[in-house]
């Protein structure tokens, strides 16, 4: 047996051991534990505001931490910062490349970032002294499209790319601090943990990976999906992860049990999940789908408890405010809607 063969066998047997270890702690399913709890009552959210202004498909949106301002990116080549409560446009930033796929708001509220087919992450300073919003930095090094970006602070940002890697950048110097490689397919989405020490990424290789920001290592890998993972988010307690995939299901993985806890699916849901966000308590999971709707799931009982219907095309992005008061959906129909 060649050395390669031996190594492969060793890897396979380790995988079997891990599967066995996971089975061993699987002493009770989530369904059993929550069997005594009642399903959350029917959730009916109404559209409170519609944000009009984009002229083409909206690909991404992100709330500011103040729960009032948000930024959206559209293929019309604009990044718009909205005061969602008054529906006023605070900034309309023209982009060099109209093929934008993601946007992010810094926790401080001082900057926004975006990127897409230009393979770059562009950082814009919203609080420049002269009042004009300008590009502050262009972070270029990825060899694939920029699928997602999230600020850690005004000094650091994490990006995920179609080149199968995620990168931690220092914004001031514009350099790559850490490259997180390991995925076998395009990285589609990322989310930072509430304590900012780790982040998770979902990719087209149907797996989600948990990364240690400081160490630069992949700590855990979660599989089970049958197709690309398009959306990923942390459960509010920081100990679990929710994913949305092209296989029409969403899954909840627990980090401490190192495995899948529950799948959110229904025989009448046929199309892919594009976006996902938990409510403040985590009891509700809101997911945007290709069939123009958003479904609301009871995260513990795995039942659908509501639908947000109102868009005329695919829902491409969703976000819940930090104070949990409202959720925003963005769609290929060029509108953003605020619901609660």
């Amino acid at each position: 047996m060649g050395e390669m063969e031996q190594l492969r066998k060793e890897a396979e047997s380790l995988k079997d051991e891990i599967t066995a270890a996971r089975k061993a702690v699987n002493d009770a399913s989530l369904q059993d534990t929550v069997s005594g709890t009642a399903v959350v009552g029917r959730v009916q959210l109404k559209t409170r505001k519609t944000l009009r202004g984009h002229l083409a498909k909206i690909y991404a949106m992100h709330w500011s931490t103040d729960s009032k301002l948000c930024v959206s990116a559209s293929q019309d080549g604009k990044l718009i910062v909205w005061d969602s409560h008054t529906t006023n446009k605070v900034n309309a930033i023209p982009l060099k490349s109209s093929w934008v796929m993601t946007c992010a708001y810094a926790p401080s509220g001082n900057m926004v970032a975006c990127g897409g087919l230009d393979n770059m992450c562009s950082i814009y300073n919203l609080k420049a002294k002269d009042g004009n919003v300008k590009v502050m930095r262009e972070l270029a090094a990825h060899t694939g499209y920029l699928s997602c970006c999230r600020f850690l602070s005004d000094s650091e940002i994490i990006t995920s790319s179609g080149d199968c890697t995620c990168v931690l950048w220092d914004i001031e110097t514009g350099t790559q601090k850490t490259v997180f490689a390991g995925h076998l397919g395009d990285c589609m989405s990322l989310a930072v943990s509430p304590d900012f020490k780790t982040f998770i990424s979902g990719a087209c290789d149907s797996t989600a990976k948990l990364w240690d920001i400081r160490e630069g290592q992949c700590r855990q890998t979660f599989g089970g999906h049958e197709s690309d993972i398009n959306a990923i988010a942390f459960f509010p307690n920081g100990n679990a992860v929710i994913t949305g995939s092209d296989d029409a299901t969403c899954k909840l993985y627990d980090l401490r049990a190192d495995q899948e806890l529950i799948t959110y699916q229904d025989s009448s849901i046929m199309c892919g999940v594009t976006s996902i966000a938990p409510s403040l308590s985590g009891r509700l999971i809101l997911a945007g789908y290709d069939d123009f709707n958003c479904n609301i799931w009871d995260s513990l009982k795995s039942e659908r408890v509501g639908v947000l219907a109102g868009h005329d095309n695919r829902v491409s992005c969703i976000g819940v405010t930090a104070d949990g008061m409202a959720c925003c959906t963005g769609s290929w129909d060029s509108f953003l809607k605020i619901w609660n």
Partner: protein
């Protein structure tokens, strides 16, 4: 499940179709389409309907489809069945025979099933030459039902301009197709014509209708062989393929090397060493977390005073921003130290409490390190030294209590100061605050006063007690003791 060894480069003859992100959706829909057409096992009755002067072959009504979906897919809500049916129609698997709008209506509207040749799972990306041939062919047939709609006429005019140089070729192809069509049986032709039209309704939708063939550009790029010759609906070979601007030649996936597998093995070993928590514990913890926070979740419980999105009253936000916290907010500080520190008012109160105990340096250190992690790189080294001087150096003014191990690690880190130099120390101090000061804080008068909204007016409290006594005495006179107890219990 550990990293799969799915070899993306195993293809030479890889299933090209499996690469399409929609393939899973198509297979699911096709599963339903097969079942719904199967008259032998509970499918819908596909029949010929007599209309006006002619017979309409091979149709079924919209409501029959809706009923079938509800029965066979356990759908309780009609609206949901219509939504699903419309999704199936939007992809072109069923279509109304009398108009171009691909939605399902729960009434007598007649629908037909699409021919498998035209199914989206065959990965059609019909070129404009095919579309031109189709529209041209339609003009050659003298049938009222095949007359071009306005938008189709506009499209044809545009295509004639675009293909001016090869219009003769297109015209010839259209003639050939029309000839083939004429040879077919009348009824068969009716059906085929409608299926062909439905195909084009999907790939060249009516203006205002959603184009379901639009792909997310992130997925487009991954096509294995974007340069492949796209097959023509009418078997036409076209040399002048337009190069897509977003397709890049895909890298052939490299074979895993020894180092790759060795790295995988060490990763798997770390995974194995990890302590997995029992599912039951994890499930319990999830449940209790959600239960605890549900009263703060505006989607589940109505917020007080009122949700600022409903009714435009922003009082809630004003209160949140104020330093005068409500009982509801103060209660959250008791959930965990993390929650208390998240709230600026909670941070202030905890700091004040620690000052009263002369241990505020712990929290100040923790806050300083959090701030350090957010500083721009050029400030990090200086700031780190300042923190060391303030909290850890010998004779430091706000000396914190660290175990010798963390102290050693930290002083080592400071030789090359970075954002994470104080990570160990910070974790240690956090644990200390959590296990020691935090629980005392929750028991403290300061916290309890805020939690119970106690005002320091003992006189009025007594006054209230006496008036309560008077009330119960007077009520007691008119009620039996049993009823009184009941009243007391319910209040």
């Amino acid at each position: 499940m550990a990293q799969g060894s799915r070899d993306q480069g195993s293809a030479g003859t890889a299933d090209l179709e499996e690469d399409s992100p929609n393939m899973i959706v198509y297979r699911k829909i096709e599963d339903i389409i097969m079942r719904i057409q199967d008259e032998n096992s509970g499918g819908v009755p596909i029949r010929t309907v007599k209309s006006f002067l002619s017979k309409v072959p091979s149709v079924v009504s919209g409501s029959e489809i809706v009923q079938w979906l509800m029965r066979n897919l356990s759908i309780e809500d009609t609206a949901e069945a219509i939504h699903l049916g419309s999704l199936i129609a939007a992809h072109g698997y069923i279509f109304p025979i009398s108009d171009h709008v691909l939605t399902l209506r729960d009434d007598g509207t007649l629908y037909r099933f699409q021919a498998p040749y035209f199914w989206p799972s065959n990965c059609w990306e019909p070129e404009n030459t095919d579309y031109a041939i189709y529209l041209c062919k339609r003009t050659m047939q003298n049938k009222a039902r095949l007359e071009l709609a306005d938008y189709e006429a506009e499209n044809l005019a545009r295509l004639q301009r675009a293909f001016a140089r090869k219009w003769e070729f297109i015209f010839m192809q259209a003639e050939a197709q029309a000839k083939i069509d004429r040879k077919k049986d009348k009824v068969e032709r009716k059906i085929l014509d409608s299926q062909e039209r439905a195909f084009w309704d999907v790939h060249r939708p009516v203006p205002g209708c959603v184009n379901t063939t639009e792909m997310d550009i992130r997925k487009c790029r991954r096509e294995k062989n974007p340069q492949r010759v796209k097959k023509s609906v009418y078997g036409v070979t076209d040399d002048s393929q337009t190069q897509s601007p977003i397709h890049a030649p895909s890298q052939p996936a490299r074979k895993p090397t020894k180092e790759d597998v060795q790295r995988e093995i060490s990763f798997l070993n770390t995974q194995l060493d990890r302590h997995c928590m029992k599912m039951s514990k994890v499930a319990d913890s999830l449940m209790s977390y959600t239960e605890q926070f549900m009263e703060y979740d505006p989607f589940v419980s109505s917020p007080e005073p009122s949700n600022p999105w409903v009714g435009d009253d922003t009082t809630f936000w004003d209160l949140e921003a104020s330093k005068d916290p409500s009982q509801h907010r103060v209660k959250k500080w008791g959930f965990s130290l993390e929650e208390a520190l998240k709230d600026p008012a909670g941070r202030d109160q905890f700091l004040k409490f620690l000052e009263s105990e002369f241990s505020s340096e712990n929290l100040r250190f923790w806050l300083a390190v959090q701030d350090l992690k957010r500083r721009p790189l050029q400030e990090v080294a200086t700031r780190a030294q300042e923190i060391w001087q303030e909290f850890l150096a010998e004779g430091a003014p706000s000396s914190i209590n660290l175990d010798s191990h963390s102290y050693e690690r930290t002083s080592q880190n400071l030789k090359d100061p970075g954002r994470y130099s104080f990570e160990d120390a910070q974790e240690h101090i956090f644990k200390l605050m959590k296990s020691d000061s935090y629980s005392r804080f929750l028991r403290s008068n300061a916290y309890q006063d805020l939690l119970l909204a106690r005002k320091k007016q003992p006189e009025t409290e007594q006054g209230r007690r006496t008036s309560l006594e008077k009330f119960t005495r007077s009520v007691g006179k008119s009620l039996t003791s049993k009823r009184l107890t009941g009243l007391m219990q319910s209040s």
